[in-house]
Symmetry: C3
Subunit: 138 residues, 3 copies
Protein backbone atom coordinates (compact mmCIF):
# COMPACT_ATOMS: atom_id res chain seq x y z
CA UNK A 1 0.00 0.00 0.00
CA UNK A 2 1.23 3.46 -0.95
CA UNK A 3 0.34 6.61 0.96
CA UNK A 4 0.81 10.25 0.05
CA UNK A 5 0.18 13.47 2.01
CA UNK A 6 0.19 17.09 0.98
CA UNK A 7 -1.14 20.37 2.39
CA UNK A 8 -2.67 23.07 0.21
CA UNK A 9 -2.58 26.63 1.59
CA UNK A 10 -5.07 29.42 0.94
CA UNK A 11 -5.54 33.01 2.05
CA UNK A 12 -8.93 34.45 1.20
CA UNK A 13 -8.92 38.27 1.60
CA UNK A 14 -12.62 38.60 2.49
CA UNK A 15 -14.80 36.55 4.80
CA UNK A 16 -16.18 34.02 2.31
CA UNK A 17 -15.14 32.41 -0.99
CA UNK A 18 -15.28 29.20 -3.01
CA UNK A 19 -12.03 28.08 -4.67
CA UNK A 20 -11.80 25.27 -7.23
CA UNK A 21 -8.96 23.04 -6.00
CA UNK A 22 -9.43 20.19 -8.50
CA UNK A 23 -6.17 20.92 -10.37
CA UNK A 24 -4.24 20.93 -7.06
CA UNK A 25 -5.70 17.56 -6.07
CA UNK A 26 -4.98 16.11 -9.53
CA UNK A 27 -1.37 17.24 -9.20
CA UNK A 28 -1.16 15.47 -5.81
CA UNK A 29 -2.56 12.30 -7.36
CA UNK A 30 -0.01 12.38 -10.19
CA UNK A 31 2.83 12.80 -7.67
CA UNK A 32 1.49 9.97 -5.48
CA UNK A 33 1.80 7.34 -8.20
CA UNK A 34 -1.40 5.69 -6.91
CA UNK A 35 -3.49 3.98 -9.65
CA UNK A 36 -6.27 2.39 -7.54
CA UNK A 37 -7.36 3.69 -4.15
CA UNK A 38 -9.05 6.51 -2.26
CA UNK A 39 -8.28 10.22 -2.03
CA UNK A 40 -9.38 12.10 1.10
CA UNK A 41 -9.52 15.90 0.86
CA UNK A 42 -10.47 17.76 4.06
CA UNK A 43 -10.43 21.25 5.46
CA UNK A 44 -7.89 21.51 8.30
CA UNK A 45 -9.98 24.25 9.94
CA UNK A 46 -13.40 24.09 11.53
CA UNK A 47 -14.79 27.18 9.80
CA UNK A 48 -14.14 25.92 6.27
CA UNK A 49 -15.41 23.15 3.99
CA UNK A 50 -14.25 20.89 1.21
CA UNK A 51 -17.12 19.84 -1.04
CA UNK A 52 -17.87 18.69 -4.58
CA UNK A 53 -20.24 20.59 -6.81
CA UNK A 54 -20.45 22.74 -9.95
CA UNK A 55 -17.92 25.38 -11.05
CA UNK A 56 -20.56 27.96 -11.93
CA UNK A 57 -20.43 31.48 -10.54
CA UNK A 58 -24.23 31.89 -10.42
CA UNK A 59 -24.51 28.79 -8.23
CA UNK A 60 -21.73 30.03 -5.93
CA UNK A 61 -23.61 33.27 -5.46
CA UNK A 62 -26.78 31.26 -4.71
CA UNK A 63 -24.88 29.13 -2.16
CA UNK A 64 -23.61 32.24 -0.43
CA UNK A 65 -27.10 33.79 -0.16
CA UNK A 66 -28.62 30.46 0.93
CA UNK A 67 -26.03 29.74 3.64
CA UNK A 68 -26.40 33.28 4.96
CA UNK A 69 -30.16 32.63 5.23
CA UNK A 70 -29.67 29.27 7.02
CA UNK A 71 -26.98 30.60 9.40
CA UNK A 72 -26.77 34.41 9.35
CA UNK A 73 -23.53 36.11 10.31
CA UNK A 74 -25.32 39.03 11.97
CA UNK A 75 -26.27 39.94 14.58
CA UNK A 76 -23.10 38.32 15.91
CA UNK A 77 -24.51 38.66 19.44
CA UNK A 78 -27.11 35.95 18.71
CA UNK A 79 -24.42 33.26 19.17
CA UNK A 80 -22.79 32.36 22.52
CA UNK A 81 -19.65 31.25 20.68
CA UNK A 82 -19.04 34.86 19.66
CA UNK A 83 -16.95 36.68 22.24
CA UNK A 84 -13.31 36.95 21.31
CA UNK A 85 -14.42 35.69 17.88
CA UNK A 86 -17.35 36.54 15.59
CA UNK A 87 -17.39 33.38 13.47
CA UNK A 88 -20.10 31.12 14.97
CA UNK A 89 -22.02 31.26 11.69
CA UNK A 90 -18.93 29.91 9.87
CA UNK A 91 -18.98 26.80 12.12
CA UNK A 92 -22.58 26.22 10.99
CA UNK A 93 -22.11 26.94 7.29
CA UNK A 94 -19.22 24.47 7.29
CA UNK A 95 -21.49 21.71 8.67
CA UNK A 96 -24.03 22.23 5.87
CA UNK A 97 -21.34 22.10 3.16
CA UNK A 98 -19.23 19.39 4.86
CA UNK A 99 -15.66 18.97 6.10
CA UNK A 100 -14.33 16.49 3.57
CA UNK A 101 -14.77 14.49 0.40
CA UNK A 102 -13.54 11.00 -0.41
CA UNK A 103 -12.93 10.45 -4.12
CA UNK A 104 -12.29 7.09 -5.79
CA UNK A 105 -9.05 6.71 -7.74
CA UNK A 106 -9.35 4.48 -10.82
CA UNK A 107 -6.59 3.90 -13.38
CA UNK A 108 -4.62 6.79 -11.92
CA UNK A 109 -7.42 9.38 -12.25
CA UNK A 110 -9.95 10.98 -9.89
CA UNK A 111 -13.03 8.91 -10.72
CA UNK A 112 -15.46 11.79 -11.29
CA UNK A 113 -19.01 11.91 -12.60
CA UNK A 114 -20.69 14.67 -14.59
CA UNK A 115 -19.61 18.16 -13.56
CA UNK A 116 -17.87 17.11 -10.33
CA UNK A 117 -15.25 19.62 -9.17
CA UNK A 118 -13.65 19.89 -5.71
CA UNK A 119 -13.99 23.20 -3.85
CA UNK A 120 -12.49 24.79 -0.80
CA UNK A 121 -15.26 26.73 0.92
CA UNK A 122 -14.01 29.54 3.13
CA UNK A 123 -16.45 31.00 5.68
CA UNK A 124 -14.04 32.91 7.93
CA UNK A 125 -11.19 34.20 5.78
CA UNK A 126 -8.59 36.89 6.21
CA UNK A 127 -5.85 34.47 7.31
CA UNK A 128 -3.82 31.54 5.97
CA UNK A 129 -5.68 28.25 6.12
CA UNK A 130 -5.00 24.69 4.96
CA UNK A 131 -6.54 21.70 3.18
CA UNK A 132 -5.17 18.17 3.61
CA UNK A 133 -4.88 15.75 0.68
CA UNK A 134 -4.26 12.15 1.77
CA UNK A 135 -4.09 9.37 -0.80
CA UNK A 136 -3.88 5.65 -0.11
CA UNK A 137 -3.82 2.78 -2.57
CA UNK A 138 -1.57 1.02 -5.03
CA UNK B 1 -4.79 -4.65 -1.79
CA UNK B 2 -7.86 -5.44 -3.89
CA UNK B 3 -9.97 -2.80 -5.59
CA UNK B 4 -13.38 -3.02 -7.22
CA UNK B 5 -15.45 -0.48 -9.17
CA UNK B 6 -19.02 -0.56 -10.40
CA UNK B 7 -21.57 1.99 -11.60
CA UNK B 8 -25.26 1.80 -10.69
CA UNK B 9 -27.69 3.52 -13.09
CA UNK B 10 -31.03 5.09 -12.22
CA UNK B 11 -33.75 6.96 -14.07
CA UNK B 12 -36.29 8.65 -11.82
CA UNK B 13 -39.37 9.75 -13.83
CA UNK B 14 -40.26 12.74 -11.61
CA UNK B 15 -38.05 15.42 -10.11
CA UNK B 16 -37.33 13.85 -6.72
CA UNK B 17 -37.12 10.33 -5.21
CA UNK B 18 -35.28 8.24 -2.65
CA UNK B 19 -34.18 4.74 -3.77
CA UNK B 20 -32.83 2.07 -1.43
CA UNK B 21 -29.61 0.84 -3.08
CA UNK B 22 -28.38 -1.36 -0.21
CA UNK B 23 -28.96 -4.64 -2.12
CA UNK B 24 -27.01 -3.27 -5.11
CA UNK B 25 -24.06 -2.30 -2.90
CA UNK B 26 -24.15 -5.70 -1.13
CA UNK B 27 -24.00 -7.39 -4.53
CA UNK B 28 -20.94 -5.29 -5.44
CA UNK B 29 -19.28 -6.26 -2.19
CA UNK B 30 -19.90 -9.97 -2.80
CA UNK B 31 -18.40 -9.67 -6.30
CA UNK B 32 -15.37 -7.75 -5.00
CA UNK B 33 -14.22 -10.56 -2.72
CA UNK B 34 -13.09 -7.96 -0.15
CA UNK B 35 -13.36 -9.13 3.49
CA UNK B 36 -11.81 -6.14 5.33
CA UNK B 37 -11.76 -2.63 3.93
CA UNK B 38 -13.78 0.43 3.00
CA UNK B 39 -16.68 0.90 0.58
CA UNK B 40 -17.22 4.34 -0.95
CA UNK B 41 -20.63 5.00 -2.51
CA UNK B 42 -21.09 8.41 -4.17
CA UNK B 43 -23.47 10.18 -6.50
CA UNK B 44 -21.77 10.86 -9.86
CA UNK B 45 -23.97 13.95 -10.35
CA UNK B 46 -24.03 17.21 -8.44
CA UNK B 47 -27.81 17.36 -8.06
CA UNK B 48 -28.12 13.99 -6.30
CA UNK B 49 -27.06 12.46 -2.98
CA UNK B 50 -26.02 9.17 -1.48
CA UNK B 51 -26.86 8.97 2.21
CA UNK B 52 -27.63 6.47 4.96
CA UNK B 53 -30.87 6.59 6.89
CA UNK B 54 -34.13 4.74 7.51
CA UNK B 55 -36.19 2.88 4.90
CA UNK B 56 -39.50 4.34 6.06
CA UNK B 57 -41.89 6.05 3.65
CA UNK B 58 -43.21 8.53 6.25
CA UNK B 59 -39.67 9.75 6.90
CA UNK B 60 -38.98 10.08 3.16
CA UNK B 61 -42.07 12.24 2.83
CA UNK B 62 -40.86 14.34 5.79
CA UNK B 63 -37.41 14.71 4.18
CA UNK B 64 -38.98 15.90 0.94
CA UNK B 65 -41.12 18.53 2.71
CA UNK B 66 -38.20 19.62 4.90
CA UNK B 67 -35.70 19.98 2.04
CA UNK B 68 -38.26 21.94 0.04
CA UNK B 69 -38.58 24.29 3.03
CA UNK B 70 -34.80 24.70 3.39
CA UNK B 71 -34.18 25.15 -0.35
CA UNK B 72 -37.42 25.76 -2.28
CA UNK B 73 -37.59 24.87 -5.95
CA UNK B 74 -39.86 27.82 -6.76
CA UNK B 75 -39.77 30.58 -7.70
CA UNK B 76 -36.94 29.36 -9.94
CA UNK B 77 -36.06 33.00 -10.69
CA UNK B 78 -34.73 33.45 -7.14
CA UNK B 79 -31.51 31.64 -8.11
CA UNK B 80 -28.86 33.03 -10.47
CA UNK B 81 -27.86 29.49 -11.44
CA UNK B 82 -31.24 29.06 -13.11
CA UNK B 83 -31.14 30.14 -16.73
CA UNK B 84 -30.80 27.27 -19.15
CA UNK B 85 -31.51 25.05 -16.13
CA UNK B 86 -34.02 25.24 -13.27
CA UNK B 87 -32.23 23.01 -10.75
CA UNK B 88 -30.35 25.35 -8.37
CA UNK B 89 -32.42 24.02 -5.45
CA UNK B 90 -31.24 20.48 -6.28
CA UNK B 91 -27.59 21.61 -5.83
CA UNK B 92 -28.55 22.83 -2.34
CA UNK B 93 -30.64 19.84 -1.29
CA UNK B 94 -27.76 17.57 -2.29
CA UNK B 95 -25.38 19.46 0.06
CA UNK B 96 -27.74 18.95 3.03
CA UNK B 97 -28.09 15.23 2.35
CA UNK B 98 -24.47 14.70 1.24
CA UNK B 99 -22.62 13.37 -1.81
CA UNK B 100 -21.23 10.13 -0.44
CA UNK B 101 -21.01 7.55 2.29
CA UNK B 102 -18.05 5.48 3.39
CA UNK B 103 -19.03 2.15 4.93
CA UNK B 104 -16.70 -0.19 6.80
CA UNK B 105 -16.36 -3.75 5.48
CA UNK B 106 -15.87 -6.37 8.19
CA UNK B 107 -15.75 -10.11 7.60
CA UNK B 108 -17.08 -9.63 4.08
CA UNK B 109 -20.19 -7.64 5.12
CA UNK B 110 -21.21 -3.97 5.16
CA UNK B 111 -20.61 -3.15 8.83
CA UNK B 112 -23.98 -1.54 9.55
CA UNK B 113 -25.61 -0.36 12.75
CA UNK B 114 -29.30 -0.31 13.66
CA UNK B 115 -31.56 0.53 10.72
CA UNK B 116 -28.79 1.74 8.41
CA UNK B 117 -29.73 1.55 4.72
CA UNK B 118 -28.03 3.29 1.78
CA UNK B 119 -30.15 5.58 -0.40
CA UNK B 120 -29.78 7.33 -3.69
CA UNK B 121 -31.45 10.73 -3.33
CA UNK B 122 -32.55 12.23 -6.63
CA UNK B 123 -33.35 15.96 -6.67
CA UNK B 124 -33.37 16.62 -10.43
CA UNK B 125 -34.67 13.50 -12.16
CA UNK B 126 -36.08 12.80 -15.57
CA UNK B 127 -32.80 11.48 -17.00
CA UNK B 128 -30.34 8.63 -16.52
CA UNK B 129 -27.93 9.21 -13.65
CA UNK B 130 -25.20 7.19 -11.94
CA UNK B 131 -23.82 6.14 -8.58
CA UNK B 132 -20.23 4.92 -8.12
CA UNK B 133 -19.35 2.01 -5.83
CA UNK B 134 -15.61 1.75 -5.12
CA UNK B 135 -14.30 -0.89 -2.74
CA UNK B 136 -10.74 -1.24 -1.47
CA UNK B 137 -9.33 -3.74 1.00
CA UNK B 138 -8.28 -7.35 1.28
CA UNK C 1 -2.88 -4.05 4.85
CA UNK C 2 -3.92 -3.95 8.50
CA UNK C 3 -7.49 -3.44 9.63
CA UNK C 4 -8.92 -2.66 13.06
CA UNK C 5 -12.51 -2.38 14.33
CA UNK C 6 -13.93 -1.17 17.61
CA UNK C 7 -17.34 -0.03 18.87
CA UNK C 8 -17.76 2.86 21.30
CA UNK C 9 -20.93 2.85 23.43
CA UNK C 10 -22.80 5.86 24.79
CA UNK C 11 -25.94 6.47 26.80
CA UNK C 12 -27.07 10.07 26.86
CA UNK C 13 -29.70 10.65 29.59
CA UNK C 14 -31.56 13.47 27.81
CA UNK C 15 -32.61 13.83 24.18
CA UNK C 16 -29.58 15.68 22.79
CA UNK C 17 -25.85 16.00 23.58
CA UNK C 18 -22.43 16.43 22.00
CA UNK C 19 -19.64 14.20 23.34
CA UNK C 20 -15.95 14.62 22.49
CA UNK C 21 -14.77 11.15 21.44
CA UNK C 22 -11.30 12.16 20.20
CA UNK C 23 -9.45 10.39 23.08
CA UNK C 24 -11.44 7.17 22.38
CA UNK C 25 -10.51 7.28 18.68
CA UNK C 26 -6.84 7.99 19.51
CA UNK C 27 -6.84 4.96 21.79
CA UNK C 28 -8.23 2.83 18.94
CA UNK C 29 -5.53 4.13 16.63
CA UNK C 30 -2.77 3.28 19.12
CA UNK C 31 -4.15 -0.25 19.51
CA UNK C 32 -4.44 -0.71 15.71
CA UNK C 33 -0.72 -0.23 15.11
CA UNK C 34 -1.53 1.58 11.83
CA UNK C 35 1.00 4.32 10.89
CA UNK C 36 -0.35 5.38 7.47
CA UNK C 37 -3.97 4.98 6.41
CA UNK C 38 -7.54 6.13 6.94
CA UNK C 39 -9.75 6.11 10.03
CA UNK C 40 -13.54 5.96 9.52
CA UNK C 41 -15.70 6.97 12.50
CA UNK C 42 -19.47 6.67 12.01
CA UNK C 43 -22.64 6.68 14.05
CA UNK C 44 -24.25 3.21 14.03
CA UNK C 45 -27.70 4.79 14.46
CA UNK C 46 -29.70 6.95 12.07
CA UNK C 47 -30.66 9.58 14.66
CA UNK C 48 -27.07 10.43 15.64
CA UNK C 49 -24.02 12.02 14.02
CA UNK C 50 -20.27 11.88 14.09
CA UNK C 51 -18.70 15.19 13.09
CA UNK C 52 -15.56 17.26 13.54
CA UNK C 53 -15.68 20.74 15.01
CA UNK C 54 -14.69 22.82 18.04
CA UNK C 55 -14.79 21.70 21.69
CA UNK C 56 -16.40 24.90 22.93
CA UNK C 57 -19.57 24.85 25.03
CA UNK C 58 -20.92 28.14 23.64
CA UNK C 59 -20.74 26.73 20.11
CA UNK C 60 -22.46 23.50 21.19
CA UNK C 61 -25.29 25.57 22.64
CA UNK C 62 -25.48 27.52 19.36
CA UNK C 63 -25.57 24.28 17.36
CA UNK C 64 -28.44 22.99 19.49
CA UNK C 65 -30.49 26.17 19.02
CA UNK C 66 -29.70 26.30 15.30
CA UNK C 67 -30.58 22.65 14.60
CA UNK C 68 -33.82 23.08 16.53
CA UNK C 69 -34.63 26.04 14.27
CA UNK C 70 -33.80 24.11 11.07
CA UNK C 71 -35.67 20.94 12.14
CA UNK C 72 -37.91 21.57 15.19
CA UNK C 73 -38.78 18.67 17.46
CA UNK C 74 -42.27 20.02 18.13
CA UNK C 75 -45.04 19.79 17.20
CA UNK C 76 -44.21 16.11 16.71
CA UNK C 77 -47.43 15.73 14.71
CA UNK C 78 -45.93 17.75 11.83
CA UNK C 79 -43.92 14.68 10.73
CA UNK C 80 -45.44 11.54 9.19
CA UNK C 81 -42.56 9.47 10.58
CA UNK C 82 -43.83 10.15 14.09
CA UNK C 83 -46.32 7.51 15.18
CA UNK C 84 -44.81 4.88 17.41
CA UNK C 85 -41.77 7.20 17.58
CA UNK C 86 -41.35 10.97 18.02
CA UNK C 87 -37.86 11.35 16.57
CA UNK C 88 -38.33 12.50 12.94
CA UNK C 89 -36.47 15.73 13.76
CA UNK C 90 -33.47 13.66 14.91
CA UNK C 91 -33.27 12.01 11.46
CA UNK C 92 -33.03 15.52 9.96
CA UNK C 93 -30.58 17.00 12.45
CA UNK C 94 -28.31 14.03 11.82
CA UNK C 95 -28.25 14.77 8.06
CA UNK C 96 -27.16 18.37 8.66
CA UNK C 97 -24.34 17.31 11.01
CA UNK C 98 -23.40 14.15 9.06
CA UNK C 99 -23.12 10.41 9.72
CA UNK C 100 -19.37 9.96 9.58
CA UNK C 101 -15.90 11.42 9.34
CA UNK C 102 -12.85 10.02 7.58
CA UNK C 103 -9.58 11.14 9.16
CA UNK C 104 -6.12 10.68 7.64
CA UNK C 105 -3.56 8.75 9.67
CA UNK C 106 0.01 10.00 9.28
CA UNK C 107 3.02 8.71 11.23
CA UNK C 108 0.69 6.90 13.62
CA UNK C 109 -1.38 10.00 14.55
CA UNK C 110 -4.79 11.39 13.56
CA UNK C 111 -3.74 14.01 11.01
CA UNK C 112 -5.68 16.95 12.44
CA UNK C 113 -5.74 20.63 11.60
CA UNK C 114 -6.37 23.57 13.91
CA UNK C 115 -8.98 22.87 16.59
CA UNK C 116 -10.30 19.65 15.02
CA UNK C 117 -12.00 17.36 17.55
CA UNK C 118 -14.32 14.42 16.83
CA UNK C 119 -17.82 14.51 18.35
CA UNK C 120 -20.66 12.11 18.79
CA UNK C 121 -23.87 14.07 18.28
CA UNK C 122 -26.89 12.52 19.94
CA UNK C 123 -30.33 13.73 18.80
CA UNK C 124 -32.53 10.98 20.27
CA UNK C 125 -30.96 9.82 23.52
CA UNK C 126 -32.21 7.90 26.51
CA UNK C 127 -30.85 4.55 25.34
CA UNK C 128 -27.53 2.85 24.61
CA UNK C 129 -26.13 3.70 21.19
CA UNK C 130 -22.91 2.95 19.30
CA UNK C 131 -20.17 4.49 17.18
CA UNK C 132 -17.97 2.41 14.86
CA UNK C 133 -14.24 3.03 14.51
CA UNK C 134 -12.70 1.27 11.48
CA UNK C 135 -9.05 1.75 10.64
CA UNK C 136 -7.25 0.49 7.55
CA UNK C 137 -3.66 1.03 6.52
CA UNK C 138 -0.14 -0.13 7.28
Amino acid sequence: MKSYRHELWFEVPGRRAFINITPNVEECLARSGVREGLCLVNAMHITASVFINDDESGLHHDYDVWLEKLAPHEPVSQYRHNGYEDNADAHMKRQVMGREVVVAITEGKLDFGTGEQIFYGEFDGGRKKRVLVKIIGE
